[in-house]
Amino acid sequence: MKPDELFRLINFCETIQKEGTDPFDLDVKKFLETLKHYHKKWKRLDDLLLDAEAISELTKIIELQGKWIRDRSSSFYIDPILMELKLKMLEPVQLANAFIKSWHPIISMDRITTKRLKEGLDYWNALLPFSERKEEFPLPSTSETFTFDVEDLIDLNILSRAEFEDSIKAVLNDLEERGRIEYHEFIYDDEFESSVEKAYLTSYLVSEGKAELDIDALEEEVFISPSNAPANTGDVRSIPISLSYEDWLRWKRK
């Protein structure tokens, strides 16, 4: 059994409702005969649900047909095409005048009374300070986040310790060969992904004291150079350095 015909009819009903086309375009009698034809073949729950949906859509169209007849017989009825043409022909001033002449504005005033002011004051007095009402405005809940450090990656067998240490050593060798160099010039590589990886490995070199950052605040430049200082043990200072794809692209085009 192919219920495609029913899906088409349901879609057609929905189109009439959305687009506001003539509801009499749908042949109700034929629709009911189609439903009757399928009715004997329904077996599954989905079939019955489809049948119910079709009946529901059909009733909406019959309701629209009733409304259509009421509208046509009312004094408001006018051929929409004629109205559209007429509206296109009129100047804005003529349209505005027609509106003003048929407009009977509502007369309404706003006024704060003494009683209302007293109510407002009572509300203010009864209101707890904002700091005590935080529960009324909860912050959006966020899922708990975790960080993975190198030890976790090694534990999960995503990375081996030897592999990680080899990578660090390669970056250190590169730095020693190049000497003092501008930070981005050092970490940027042919690929953006490998540049990010190099920046990540470089941060380990700095933390372990094998590399040193020298920040020129005036010129807004950061230099990196090899170092033999001991690893961070006391006060730790974080230095944020931005790394963006656009910046990397500009560097590559140079």
């Binding site: 004629l82 349209l95 027609a98 509106f99 003003i100 407009w103 504005p105 007369i107």
Partner: protein, 178 residues
């Protein structure tokens, strides 16, 4: 004694008419006017008689109490009552620009001719014939906010304020006769 009772009754009726005028003139809700049941609660079961007396007084000032209903609202208590100007205005009474009023006029006439509801996209396309697109979007949103239009699932329909303020038959007749 009879005179005293009559006088008291007259005073009571006057108080009720004053109360009705206050309720209807001053805004109590976001939308102006009050529901029939609110008038009944404030004025008693014979609230329609009180409104009748108020109407006669307002008539002298060129105003009237109008009742607007939603589709399917038959009972008087369910309708919304508000005071409107009885005759059309002879002087300017709105800060709207002339082309904004023209846009509203064309939109209402278009929707009325489509049996009270039309897709927003179709209205926008129709208006672009005479007005720039960016102004149409803002204007339609403003008419929705003001209550002249309603929006439901990307379709626009006649709003509560148009039903209260605009004589739709007269608007269509005037446009066709222009």
């Amino acid at each position: 004694m009879e005179e005293e009772i009559e006088e008291e009754s007259t005073l009571k009726a006057e108080r009720k008419v004053k109360k009705a005028a206050q309720i209807l003139f001053f805004r109590r809700h976001r939308i102006p006017g009050v529901k029939g049941w609110e008038l009944k609660k404030a004025l008693g079961d014979n609230y329609m008689d009180v409104i009748g007396v108020l109407n006669s007084a307002l008539d002298k000032l060129g105003m009237e109490v109008k009742r607007i209903t939603e589709e399917g609202e038959e009972k008087t208590e369910h309708g919304r009552f508000m005071i409107v100007l009885k005759n059309h205005l002879v002087e300017k009474a709105s800060g709207e620009r002339i082309d904004d009023v023209a846009m509203l006029s064309a939109t209402l006439a278009y929707i009325i001719s489509k049996q009270g509801k039309a897709p927003r996209k179709a209205i926008e396309n129709f208006l672009t014939d005479k007005f720039p697109k960016h102004r149409i979007f803002f204007a339609l949103d403003r008419y929705i906010k003001q209550g002249y239009l309603g929006e439901d699932d990307k379709a626009l329909y006649i709003g509560w304020r148009t039903r209260a303020e605009v004589d739709r038959k007269s608007l269509l007749d005037l446009i066709l006769a222009s």
